[in-house]
């Protein structure tokens, strides 16, 4: 048997490129061929887009394909599928589910969204009230979900719903794959403080989900969901940026280009934030070096906290620096963007959008609790909701 080292992966990548020259191959066909060659995500099992190779070898394949001008699967467009649905399906799905869903997910033929948060279950997600009731071979789902990005584009959703209200909240949840084309699924745009609707509300009314689309055992959906959420936090905090690569970039460029806007007060605040942004960047670099060296640390939990605060403070300073122009806004027209672009928009947008950074994917307050309890080992808050049946909780 051939050892799967970097050279072997380079060889297989060249074989793929030779059999399917990117210039002469349809984009989707090329991506399917790449998946079938096991070069999509090399750490996945053979037959499911991978080769059971170490995850650290993926950059070898990516670099060779990029150098040959091969198309990629536009990961930003299908981030929820790649970052959250796929690891969960891989971890808990049946063989049939893995074969059915992973290939079109990775290729980008089927977009995924996530039906977790509810109006009554935000930080306390496990208190969710969307019901799934067994009816023959199906589950019938009723409830309301919120903060669902890509719901209007999605073919499938990962969904958690309550299957046993008599159990304490963490124990009565099950995890499903929901067909977004079911007639009982209604998607409505949710307009945000920026004026646009990047997210949706999703109303589920008598949605029928076959039991064959359940992920993991009945009643163990919370455990399954934790896999999903862990992957979400990794993907939110993990990107590599160059110096002045984040939100500090635009404000530093404005400072250099527009001397008439400078004041002493803004100068001191700008320099303080510049230092903090640079240190946050170095902290991210160190975190990645730890991962590469096989010494993953708990630092990842902190990165999202740091970037949320920095984005908010920097964009706030930027609006102020602009003075009179800071009083204006580009447009309040309700739009439904396909992608969120944090730095490509004006300062006012950045200021408003970044308010969500300390809420989405775990509020900063919850993340501080997690750091305090899991990293520092501080005692948990006494709580009264763990052993009470969900139906008896205050709401």
């Amino acid at each position: 048997m051939t050892t799967l080292d970097a050279d072997e992966l380079r060889r297989r990548t060249q074989d793929l490129l030779a059999a399917h020259p990117p210039a002469a191959t349809d984009r989707t066909d090329f991506l399917k061929a790449r998946f079938d060659a096991g070069l999509a995500w090399v750490h996945y099992p053979a037959g499911l887009g991978g080769l059971d190779a170490p995850r650290s070898l993926q950059p070898v394949v990516d670099a060779a394909l990029a150098a040959a001008g091969a198309p990629d699967n536009d990961p930003r467009r299908i981030g929820i599928g790649l970052g959250m649905a796929a690891p969960t399906i891989l971890g808990y799905g049946t063989d049939e589910q893995k074969r059915r869903f992973l290939r079109p997910l990775w290729v980008g033929e089927e977009v995924w969204c996530q039906l977790f948060s509810e109006p009554g279950a935000g930080s306390d997600l496990a208190a969710l009230g969307t019901r799934a009731v067994r009816d023959g071979e199906d589950w019938v789902v009723d409830g309301q979900k919120v903060w669902t990005s890509s719901a209007h584009l999605a073919r499938w959703a990962i969904l958690i719903a309550r299957t046993d209200p008599d159990q304490p909240k963490h124990r009565g949840i099950s995890y499903f794959i929901c067909d977004m084309t079911d007639p009982g699924v209604e998607v409505r745009p949710l307009r945000q403080i920026t004026g646009e609707a990047e997210f949706n509300e999703v109303f589920l009314t008598g949605v029928r989900i076959p039991d064959s689309r359940r992920l993991g055992p009945v009643g163990e959906g919370w455990k399954v969901a934790r896999t999903t959420l862990m992957n979400e936090r990794v993907s939110i905090g993990g990107a590599r940026i160059p110096r002045e690569g984040g939100m500090i970039g635009p404000v530093a460029r404005t400072w250099r280009a527009r001397p008439e806007l400078r004041t002493h007060d803004l100068h001191q605040r700008l320099l303080t934030l510049w230092v903090e942004a640079e240190v946050a960047r170095l902290t991210g670099t160190r975190l990645r070096q730890q991962l590469v060296a096989g010494q993953p640390g708990p630092e990842g939990s902190g990165m999202k906290l740091a970037f949320a605060r920095l984005n908010q403070e920097i964009s706030g300073l930027e609006v102020e620096l602009l003075g009179q122009e800071g009083l204006l806004y580009s447009e309040w027209t309700m739009r439904r963007p396909e992608l969120v672009d944090f730095t490509g928009r004006d300062a006012g947008y950045r200021y408003l959008r970044s308010k969500g950074n300390s809420i989405e994917g775990g509020t900063s307050e919850v993340l501080l609790n997690i750091v305090a309890e899991r990293v520092l080992g501080l005692p948990v808050e006494p709580r009264n909701d763990k052993d009470v049946a969900w139906k008896d909780l205050a709401r």
Binding site: V60, R262, L270, T272, V275, V279, T285, P379
Partner: protein, 376 residues
């Protein structure tokens, strides 16, 4: 596996195995000889420094010569290793002239033509810990122009410098003068070192007076200025690691205490208002580590980014150390305010460190120039 090129050019912000071993040796020594009651007792005595501790640290473990090449009698290691030693010294607020002698004075001498006999001889003595030298500039000086150069009359050094750290334990003073850099023995006629009452009890300051003191001229005016600049840059860069170690102790001790201390029938560390403050501090300590390692690595590799890396580390870590020490006192409640508890030693060291080798504000001004974000 070959990592992407950009990642290869990035500074190495981790600790090597050799650095971990060095840390373990220093930590074990300090646990034996320099625990909090010992430090407290020492700083109240007339002899804040423990000569046996210095001998074990500097000579036996060999930390004094980390920056000095082997051919000059040192260990031929570098700033990354010295930074690890400083983390441990910061963690135990040890009264030891490591930063001043083994880093700043040593680096200043290394900047001079090290094959010259007086420089090489002195470096050899410092590297083995046999002698201690300090640069005779105020501890607050960030650059040579902040020094108070002494004068030279007929080959003898004349002048006064205030606020010199660790001068009371030094054998040799490196004195910037209008005629270049002089080495002056503290035992020489005409040299007086008068201890000051210092905010930081663990790193005493002194006023140095030189009245027709005989000295050895080590460098001319221009070489002296650049050598002193290099010494102070290394001092500022590695001070960040001392601040990191100090902040880490404050956080660890505060977490330990609030887990045990009960009020309202609960450990006080279970209250969110306290947990969030400690979690925030943890994030600052994690960030300070990246900044301090970046400065140490830049100094070690002679990166062209060194002045920026040092200024960023100082602008950030000073604040973190002070914040950690202040939180340590507040979250300890009444006991943290007592003389008996060591928290005050850390607060005083942290506050003094925030002024040493330039304040955070000074380093931000340096950054403004380096990255072209000019003042109005």
């Amino acid at each position: 596996m070959t990592a992407p090129t950009e990642e290869n050019q990035a500074p190495d912000l981790l600790y090597s195995e050799a650095e971990d071993d060095l840390r373990a040796a220093v930590r074990s020594l300090l646990a034996d000889r320099c625990d909090a009651p010992t430090v407290l007792a020492r700083v109240e005595s007339d002899a804040p420094y423990d000569p046996q501790l210095w001998k074990a640290l500097a000579a036996d473990i060999g930390t004094a010569g980390l920056l000095v090449p082997e051919k000059l009698g040192g260990q031929g290691a570098g700033h990354r290793e010295a930074a690890v030693v400083l983390e441990e010294l910061g963690r135990s607020v040890a009264p030891a002239p490591y930063l001043t002698s083994a880093v700043v004075a040593t680096e200043t001498l290394l900047a001079l033509a090290a094959q010259d006999r007086p420089v090489a001889g002195l470096l050899g003595d410092l590297a083995t810990g046999r002698r201690i030298a300090v640069l005779a500039v105020p501890f607050s000086a960030a650059a040579p122009d902040a020094a108070q150069p002494a004068g030279v009359v007929a080959g003898a050094v004349e002048g006064m410098v205030t606020g010199v750290a660790d001068a009371v334990t030094a054998d040799v003073l490196l004195v910037p003068t209008t005629d270049g850099l002089y080495a002056v023995e503290t035992g020489t006629a005409g040299v007086s070192v008068e201890p000051l009452v210092s905010l930081d009890l663990t790193r005493p300051l002194a006023t140095v007076r030189l009245a027709k003191a005989a000295g050895t001229r080590l460098a001319d005016g221009a070489s002296a200025v650049s050598a002193v600049r290099r010494g102070l840059l290394a001092g500022a860069g590695l001070l960040a690691s001392e601040q990191l170690g100090l902040a880490e102790w404050c956080l660890t001790e505060t977490v330990r205490y609030t887990r045990e201390r009960h009020q309202f029938n609960r450990p006080v560390g279970s209250f969110q208002s306290l947990k969030h403050r400690m979690a925030q501090l943890w994030l600052e300590v994690v960030s300070a580590r990246a900044a301090a390692r970046n400065a140490a690595d830049a100094l070690a590799t002679g990166s062209p980014d060194t002045p920026l890396a040092v200024a960023v580390a100082q602008a950030y870590c000073s604040k973190v150390a002070v914040h950690a020490a202040e939180e340590c006192i507040q979250l300890h409640g009444g006991i943290g305010m007592t003389w008996e508890h060591p928290a005050h030693l850390y607060l005083k060291r942290a506050k003094a460190d925030s002024i040493a080798y330039g304040t955070a504000g000074h380093h931000r001004e340096v950054i403004a120039e380096l990255v072209e974000l000019p003042a109005p």
